[in-house]
Point group: C2
Chain length 217, copies 2
DNA sequence: AAAAGTCCGTTGCTTTTGCAACGGACTTTT
DNA sequence: AAAAGTCCGTTGCAAAAGCAACGGACTTTT
């Protein structure tokens, strides 16, 4: 797992020397495990002892609402984390996690953040800070999502969603969702989404093919 | 501020002895300040050095979206926190915070979480853990909000919203929003919301008056 | 006490959206 | 190669929702 280039993209491990990274893996008491496409990494209402870092493949996090609908909470690509909050709090996680494709996961424990082993080295403190920073960043990400979902028409939700991608990746980008997932992510209906995308393409606002988009205006 | 009973409701200070609580205030380098109704506690794009604890009154946190619409991110009552993520990350906060009523705020710095002063006492560690737990809990709260906003009809959003309150407070409760804020919180239109509430009352699902609700079915 | 302001329900109208169903393009399986 | 499966665009229709405007109840100001 040390050789996974993806690990560089994770703020937890970025810019660490090889020794420091090896230390970090023990600090978080890490274990890797691979999953086949469609496997469940976690089931609803089990405590999540560890949080995960996606090394390869991708996973999606879901919740069920009161009526039994599946709500997609997150799509996690290599370098991305999931479950940090539940793992830190040590509570039952009302989520389930599913491998979108064959995936390799680094499972890590936040135990030493909560109960540091003295003496606390500078690296220990740095790793702790990075973990907390990941928690804080997560709320910023969720703010972005709430911004999208707070808009009251599908058109404006779409514009907000695509603008966020465009801000980060430029005018041409690929999203990690198929239409159905994208509609769920936007809190909308798949056919309504297809219709709206068609309209926007007809109006010359953007072009797209499947999950690749190019913003024109 | 030591005498504010509200402080007991904050997970940061709950169940601390009087001395420990006094120590906590210095640990977080706390300062209090009062605001008049309508005052801004923070303006967009300024770094947030400290996070806030509402001692009395209430505040609301807003963001502006791309088109200049105001999105309500949070309503914070006595005992509630705001701005922890931005304060910890030390970044510009794209939010503004406004006093809904005359409000007394305890401003606290997360500095010693990031850079502990040795020797780190057991209480230091406890306070650090509590702060991180607040960050983690924040993401759970936001998950609740996303659950509401992900529903694709106003009726189901309302049911989800009200069910969350009913789960926490029982069948009869008062919400901290007027209609306009409630509609913004649900990502909807005020008149559409009024209309839907009327219908649900006519159907015998609930009764309400202003911001007080009673769930019947 | 009058005036101004706030909050909220109501309603008419138009647009948007959800929903269900169908079919085509493409991929995977057998 | 046929069959089955997946993904997505399209469309018709009915329901939902946005929008704008009005008026009543109530509160605050002057």
């Amino acid at each position: 797992m040390l050789t996974h280039p993806q690990i560089e993209h994770c703020p937890l491990f970025r810019d660490l020397s090889t020794e420091d990274r090896a230390y970090a893996l023990t600090y978080f008491d890490s274990k890797t495990r691979t999953y086949e496409k469609g496997d469940f990494l976690h089931q609803v209402s089990f405590p999540l002892q560890r949080f995960g870092l996606v090394l390869s493949g991708s996973v999606q996090v879901y919740m069920d609402d009161i009526d039994g609908h599946h709500i997609i909470m997150a799509h996690v690509e290599p370098g991305g984390l999931f479950g940090e909050s539940y793992a830190f709090l040590g509570i039952d996680a009302p989520i389930y996690i599913c491998a979108v494709s064959e995936a390799e996961i680094l499972w890590m424990s936040p135990h030493r953040i909560k109960a540091p082993v003295s003496p606390v080295s500078q690296l220990d403190q740095e790793l702790s800070n990075r973990f907390v920073a990941c928690l804080a960043s997560r709320t910023l990400q969720m703010n972005q999502r709430i911004q999208i979902l707070s808009r009251n028409t599908l058109r404006t939700k779409l514009i907000t969603f695509l603008s966020q991608y465009a801000t980060e990746k430029g005018d041409s980008f690929t999203i990690p969702f198929d239409r159905a997932s994208m509609a769920a992510y936007l809190g909308s209906d798949r056919s309504a989404l297809s219709r709206e995308l068609s309209r926007m393409q007809a109006e010359g606002i953007l072009t797209y093919h499947r999950n690749h988009f190019r913003i024109l205006k």
